[in-house]
Symmetry: C2
């Protein structure tokens, strides 16, 4: 069964690099990846926040929130 995962980013260089890395190594058989640019979809910031995202880039799936390197604080995207 595929797990739905969400990658939140803000188009920053650190974000783009992390996105390229993750999309390379995540198992497409296991992960159904949605990619959200919070700069373009500010309505999703609230979703990210309630999933525990504090900075981008971050990958959320199930109860796990992984902050990957550091691009920008979520607070700075509001």
């Amino acid at each position: 069964m595929k797990t739905k995962a969400t990658f939140y980013h803000a188009g920053c260089p650190v974000c783009v690099s992390a996105e390229q890395s993750l999309t390379t190594v995540l198992d497409p058989e296991k992960v159904d990846l949605e990619i959200i640019h919070l700069g373009e979809q500010p309505g999703r910031i609230e979703n990210a926040e309630s999933a525990g995202v504090e900075s981008v880039p971050a990958l959320v799936w199930g109860a796990d929130t992984l902050h990957i390197n550091f691009g920008a604080a979520l607070a700075d995207l509001k």
Copy 2:
């Protein structure tokens, strides 16, 4: 072709959680994952450092170093 990746950790709760997450979603067809506990293998700290690891848990493959959440600074493991 498989990419060799190295997951560096120090046995901390954040590390264990990240390891479980990553081993679930990484594509075994694409990634040949080596897991290094730096507390048990301090000789590998130098490798981690030269790959740009500043804190654990971190995943290194090719030229990419992804710091995942924050467990401990590499400096504190020496």
